[in-house]
Amino acid sequence: MRAKLEAEPASQAQAEKVNGADMLMKALREEQVDILFGYPGGAVLPIYDALYKAPIRHVLARHEQGAIHAAEGYARVSGKPGVVIATSGPGATNLVTGIADAMMDSLPLVIFTGQVASGVIGTDAFQEADVVGITMPITKHNYQVRDIKDLPRIVKEAFHIASTGRPGPVLVDIPKDLTVQDAPPVKEVEMDLPGYQPNLHPNPLQIRKLVDAIKVSKKPVILAGAGVLHGKASEELKNFAELYELPVIHTLLGLGGFPADHPLFLGMAGMHGCYTSNMALYECDLLINIGARFDDRLTGNLATFAPKAKVVHIDIDPAEIGKNVTTHIPIVADSREALLKILEHEAVRGDTEEWHRHLQAYKLENPFWYTKTNDVLSPQLLIEQVYEMTNGEAVVTTDVGQHQMWAAQYYSFKKPNNWVTSGGLGTMGFGFPAAIGAQLANPASKVVAFVGDGGFQMTLQELVLLKELNLPVKVVLLNNSTLGMVRQWQETFYEERYSQSLFSLQPDFVKLAESYGIKGYRVKNQEEAECVLKEALTSDEPVLIDCLVNPKENVYPMVAPGKGIHEMLGVKP
């Protein structure tokens, strides 16, 4: 684990003094960082001064939270770590939501925060906050640089930790005085991480057990999570499913790992998953979990989750195995490595014909449903329209709530890494800035941000970036003037007491877009939507479409809290 940094010729080093901030820029270039998301401030002034001369692009968000969600979108789509810079104190604390979000959804981020000068740390200095302490439980690891000569090693370790094993956010806190100190010349950087050795390769014995279990299973099913995407194992998953003829279910975050138009695909499972997938999880006798963490929104009541199943769990993080669900065949490995090892075996299928017939019948009888009306726009229909017009090939980002679930239900992903959503933390305000990062990661792609009027108002200040950076993101605002999911729960479980979930006043989103120099549209029904979407989705400019959707629409099916996922409400009209 050695990397060579270019040795500075002694004479040149003398001629041009290098400080800690320059050293950081150099270390970032070593890691092939070409874009930073950030916001300057007092404690990072020297870093921004070094950045002034460095050949690294910087995206100036209008709020640190916008910067970090953009970095998350970038990381999700590009597969590379998103890099964030913020100043000490409030700059750093504004990142907290994004860091926690990345931790929950295993996104690789490297975050640099300024810190007050070493000499005044601990004195409640201006813009001081204990950022290492604050972020300890929400980072994969974090550092405070105490000596400038450690910086290259720490940066190297930070990128390594963030992007290997189970990815996650790593924070590096740098006191201001270190960034202006003369930096010693660096020749070779060596990592020192004896306590960090992710286990990528599966135990062959366990793989054998899995293959044997498939042979005798009559009702097998694969549950594929985001681990398939992180492991770049989509192709191998498809081969595995086809070879053994296994039906595939996705988690919310796993969508796109397996093509949605594949005959073996059942759909998303969970609180708002499809009937077939939830029932398949309930009835199966062999559950092969690949890179999903059995989140409570997926499992529902654990007492009735997959009650008859032998559970196989493939995960790179051993702590996820057996955490929520008792596992019979644990396999600690990278998803792709594990699948490759499985594929080395001779494929012997069990007697599953009846099972497939049974699931197909479920699928035919219980599709997602909604009521089409002429006078109000159905949010589900709107998403279907976008899906058709983009051939299911757009990069889709969402906020959190009803529109997120509808996007997951009605936008069918055929390819991996086109789906950017906040799953674990459920962060409102995530979707729009994430779309900015997604577009920067993939300039040629069509990027659609489905957002709700609640979440969008949490981070809409980043609209200015669409114009400033000329990013042709299409913001599709599903505007029901309510906090839809909160309203739905209040309707269902709180006897329609709509406490603080209905907005009595809304901004004019079209004018708002125009004030940022972006084209804005408003649509109220199906025909208008069709017409405007056609124009907007083919345009190469940023667009905001304020879609006034039916505020009374609910997301179905729905699993009530405390119930098993086979006990769904609203399976049929």
């Binding site: 930790i161 306590g195 702590a319 057996g322």
Partner: protein
């Protein structure tokens, strides 16, 4: 159930905070914790006594500890042959008349009196937790002013022969 877990950690700033923070975040109850240097420079040994409900909980605890970058090795030594010791300082009220009585308690416990004041003595005792509990019970009638206990520090005996069935929680498969 009570488990004794030891962890070898990098002696870096914040490592104790990381570990105790993890216990709080995952809702594990620590009964005692002791930390000290080992024979290897830069590496410390932490010994925890934790109270957990079931096997799944202790397995989670071990795995979560192991996930910490600064944690090098985690072992549940409860069911192994272990050497576990604790040290306690006990300040007992004592007048001239009771001093010899206290001495009579201290001696069979191989404890020692390390400080004598006009109205009190301080007893130092080392041993397993049950022994320390026992001497505290015996000294209580004289009036205990203060107690300071280190918590258990422990490791497996030489040769590592287990005394009971060894329960293994493997991190890798």
């Amino acid at each position: 159930m009570k488990r004794i877990v030891t962890a070898l950690v990098h002696n870096r700033s914040g490592v104790l905070n990381r570990v105790t923070g993890l216990f709080t975040k995952r809702q594990f109850n620590i009964e005692s914790i002791s930390v000290g240097y080992t024979e290897v420079e830069g590496i410390s040994r932490m010994t925890f006594v934790v109270n957990v409900e079931d096997d799944r909980k202790i397995e989670q605890l071990m795995k979560q500890l192991h996930k910490q970058i600064d944690v090098l090795k985690v072992t549940d030594i409860t069911d192994q042959g272990v050497v576990a010791r604790e040290l306690a300082l006990i300040k007992v009220l004592s007048t001239g008349q009771t001093r010899s009585e206290i001495n009579g308690i201290v001696e069979p416990f191989r404890a020692s009196i390390i400080d004598v004041a006009r109205d009190s003595v301080t007893v130092q005792v080392t041993g397993e937790t049950s022994k320390i509990e026992a001497i505290i019970d015996l000294l209580r009638p004289y009036g205990i002013k203060e107690i300071a206990r280190t918590g258990i520090t422990a490791f497996a005996r030489g040769n590592g022969k287990s005394v009971t069935d060894l329960k293994q929680y493997s991190i890798v498969n």
